[in-house]
């Protein structure tokens, strides 16, 4: 690991809570590490567990999925599905030898700009600890 290694994080955020929370962090000018890139989905329930593995395969060092707090899902149940699926994925990651520290899930509401900052910092820090991810062979990208 080189000394100036900066982890590359891909985050999937639900439109209604976490994406809005990240927007609020911006509106409130809360500063956090630039290592994180956000992909907007309508619901955390949309996040296919394969996306997480795919992100690692494509060059991410860490992945974050964030949705509404349990009970607050805009689609009523989507975050419960996400919690089940991704909880299983986390166990599976350990089983296949991927450091589970590379994967985080969080609940960030539309009013939790400061919590979003903390979540990002934790995710980046853990990915930094885990080092560059070279576990999967990179697939050729069809651009």
């Amino acid at each position: 690991m080189s000394a100036n290694y900066e982890p590359n994080i891909v985050a999937f955020l639900c439109n209604w809570c976490s994406y809005a929370g990240a927007d609020l962090a911006g509106t409130s000018r809360v500063s956090y590490p630039a290592n994180i890139q956000i992909i907007r989905v309508m619901c955390s329930g949309r996040v296919n567990p394969l996306y997480v593995m795919n992100a690692l395969q494509q060059g991410a060092d860490g992945v974050l999925v964030s949705g509404c707090h349990p009970g607050d899902c805009h689609y009523m149940e989507g975050n419960y599905y996400a919690r089940r699926r991704l909880g299983m994925l986390k166990d599976l990651m350990e089983f296949v030898g991927v450091d589970p520290k590379r994967f985080h899930m969080s609940w960030v509401s539309a009013s939790e700009g400061h919590k979003w900052k903390e979540v990002v910092e934790k995710t980046v820090e853990d990915a930094r600890d885990a080092g560059p991810f070279e576990g999967f062979r990179r697939r050729q990208i069809d651009w």
Binding site: S31, Q37, I38, R46, D72, M76, E112
Partner: protein, 666 residues
């Protein structure tokens, strides 16, 4: 995809909001080299009219068919740019936004990292936009009716406006009477009109309006569906009094075996009521209600030989067999006007509210000075030994507001003025009393406020700047311990009575409404509006609007103004008669669907059904999406074993290239 994607990229400076942390020219230059990009430009404000014209001109000149705007959050301006490109003949769903403001320039400080990240986000957007599909905006009919939850002044005003416009309104109130907190107030600042005098006519109007169905002592149990078509189920709680037979005469309450035993909620517990009661004399509807927690017969099954109320009721209105009823109806829009709770000063034990009867809240003071209140408007307190007319009165502002120790950082906006008003009312009743107000700041910001504050000071009310630390008893006096911060003098002020100017808090029971309507809370825990400035009455749930203190503390004129705003917004779908439905719905590839019906069991909206199709001569079951019901969450797609069901605009084939673009730029 028949047409080759020709992408136009537009990078916004947003004045210096973006350009100070992102080198926008470098980003545009970088974008020009991305696959399928024909044009990349920067502009100071993309959302402005010239910015939009720039896009439209390029679409015409360069034949662009996909647009990426790198600017603010899509939650802000996606509709703006969708409309702009649609005006130029491009399908509005051929748009992708890279959020390089809220999620980049505003949260990062170094221009290098800001620029690098903006490039990444833009690359992901370009990757996705090329693969988007054209979608068609469809509409469904909207039910020309509205539900208003809460019948305080906000709910009443919204209901009246909508009803006057000719639409059906269901006004649901949890307590037995409409009127809310405003009905409890005595006079209203700064004009000193009597609250009841201006409110009761509106209460009666709401009850008598031919277009309003008033459901008091009722709660919304269930809300299904969406803007235009919400299916609502309301529980009408049993009053144990026949609504049609009760004449409101009150004979029952006088004869009740547990007469005048229970704290009267309307008088803030300063008076007592029977188990059968009318909340207050002007209650609308003027129908009695039996409180099941305190009625002997309902609690123990026995009340003497026969319940007295039943014996004396001339119209035989008492009905202990009554059960909760359910009412179901459909509305096109919903207004949430559930109001607030006054701060409970027991949470600041240093003020001794629980210990001393002569420490009272502002709400209690309202009842005390009210001619219809428990003391018929006489200001009297019990000092622990005797009931006295106070000579020395202290009022304390900001109790439970601007106070992080109780978790309320916000200003409650009404206390400065209601405390001033109460000082004036006390002065009116007790010309010789010494009145002082302890304050942190005086915020007299509204129309006529400053003038009123001046008037109160001229009435020999002393304003002392200081936030009391403690109230304790010495003899039969209360001691307010405080530092006068303008003179740096510590004081121990002996008084006969303390009025705590309590702030406004979100309702303790708001959670139920939140979950019912999928609303969020802002950091102050009041309901969150869709945009703090430009959409202050809207919520994230389409068709649901906010009015009054449910959205945040406000005074009566602001509440009425917001209620009228919410009514006007709610009437848009009702008047149009149609609402657009979500175009980004899920779609099934019937050729690969294996008919397992996993998606059917997962869909929160029951939008997927199994249908039989003929495949090469065989009858097979496949899933099919009802587009009118699908909200496009995509939970089905993540569950599908064969990736056969996919939400439009968020397909695997559209998201995976985004992931690849972010990874490849490591």
């Amino acid at each position: 995809m028949t047409e080759k994607p020709k992408v136009g990229v537009y990078v916004c400076h947003c004045g210096i909001n973006i350009s100070s942390t992102v080198d926008v020219d470098a980003v545009a230059e970088f974008a020009e080299k991305l696959p399928n990009v024909k044009v990349a430009r920067t502009y100071s404000y993309m959302c402005s009219d010239p910015g939009q014209v720039l896009i439209k001109k390029d679409i015409e000149e360069h034949g662009l068919n996909r647009i990426v705007v790198a600017s603010c959050s899509p939650r802000m301006h996606e509709p703006t740019f969708r409309k702009a490109i649609a005006d130029a003949g491009v399908n509005p769903y051929f748009l992708e936004m890279a959020n390089i403001r809220e999620q980049c320039s505003w949260v990062h400080e170094e221009i290098e990292e800001g620029t690098a990240k903006a490039k990444k986000l833009l690359t992901a957007s370009v990757a996705k936009v090329r693969l988007l599909e054209a979608l068609e905006q469809k509409e469904v009919d909207a039910e020309p009716a509205a539900l208003v939850i809460g019948a305080g002044i906000a709910g009443i005003q919204s209901a009246l406006d909508i009803a006057d416009a000719g639409f059906q309104v269901y006004l649901v109130e949890k307590t037995p009477s409409v009127g809310g907190r405003m009905a409890q107030l005595d006079k209203t600042f700064p004009t000193l009109d009597c609250s009841a005098c201006i409110l009761t006519p509106k209460m009666v109007d709401a009850a008598n309006h031919p277009n309003i169905e008033l459901l008091t002592y009722s709660e919304v149990e269930e809300v299904k569906g969406f803007i235009g078509n919400f299916d609502v189920k309301v529980r009408k709680k049993a009053r144990y009094v026949d609504f049609d037979k009760c004449t409101g005469c009150g004979d029952c309450a006088k004869e009740c075996r547990v007469k005048d035993r229970f704290p009267n909620e309307f008088d803030q517990g300063l008076s007592k009521r029977s188990a059968i009661y009318l909340p207050f004399p002007q209650a609308v509807p003027a129908k009695f209600t039996i409180d099941p927690d305190n009625c002997l017969f309902l609690k123990k099954g026995k009340c003497g030989k026969n319940p007295k109320c039943q014996e004396v009721c001339g119209t035989e209105a008492i009905d202990f067999e009554q059960e909760d009823e359910f009412v179901e109806f459909r509305v096109g829009a919903i207004i949430v006007a559930t109001g607030f709770d006054p701060f409970n000063p027991s949470r600041k034990p240093e003020y001794g509210y629980d210990d001393y009867p002569n420490v009272i809240t502002g709400m209690e003071m309202e009842r005390l000075v009210s001619a219809s209140g428990p003391t018929e408007g006489k200001v009297k307190v019990f000092n622990g030994e005797e009931e006295i007319e106070p000579k020395e009165v202290a009022l304390i502002k900001c109790v439970g507001s601007r106070d992080e120790s109780v978790g309320n950082e916000y200003c409650s906006r009404v206390c400065c003025m209601y405390v001033a008003k109460q000082a004036h009312l006390i002065r009116d009743k007790l010309p010789d009393a010494n009145i002082r107000i302890y304050y942190m700041d005086v915020r007299a910001f509204g129309k006529g406020f400053e003038e009123f504050y001046d008037r109160v000071r001229r009435e020999n009310v002393r304003y002392i700047r200081g936030n009391p630390s403690e109230i304790f008893k010495r003899g039969n006096k209360l001691v307010v311990k405080v530092e006068d911060t303008l003179t740096s003098t510590p004081l121990e002020d002996e008084v006969d009575m303390v009025v705590l100017g309590v702030g406004l808090e979100p309702r303790a029971d708001m959670r139920g409404v939140m979950e019912l309507l999928r609303l969020s809370q802002s950091p102050d825990k009041f309901f969150l509006e869709a945009h703090p400035k430009l959409r202050p009455v809207d919520t994230a749930t389409d068709g649901v609007f906010l009015a009054g203190c449910a959205q945040g503390p406000k005074d009566i004129p602001d509440t009425v103004a917001q209620a009228k705003g919410a009514a006007a917004s709610a009437m848009i779908p009702l008047a149009r008669g149609k609402v657009p439905i979500n175009a980004q719905v899920a779609i099934v590839n019937e050729a690969t669907c294996r008919g397992c019906a996993f998606c059917v069991s997962i869909c929160p909206y029951s939008a997927i059904e199994m249908v039989t199709v003929n495949r090469f001569g065989n009858e097979v079951e496949v899933a099919r999406v009802n587009e009118a019901l699908c909200k496009g969450c995509g939970s089905c797609a993540a569950a599908c074993l064969s990736d056969s069901i996919q939400p439009k605009s968020f397909r695997d084939s559209q998201i995976l290239p985004q992931i690849a673009a972010l990874g490849v730029m490591k």
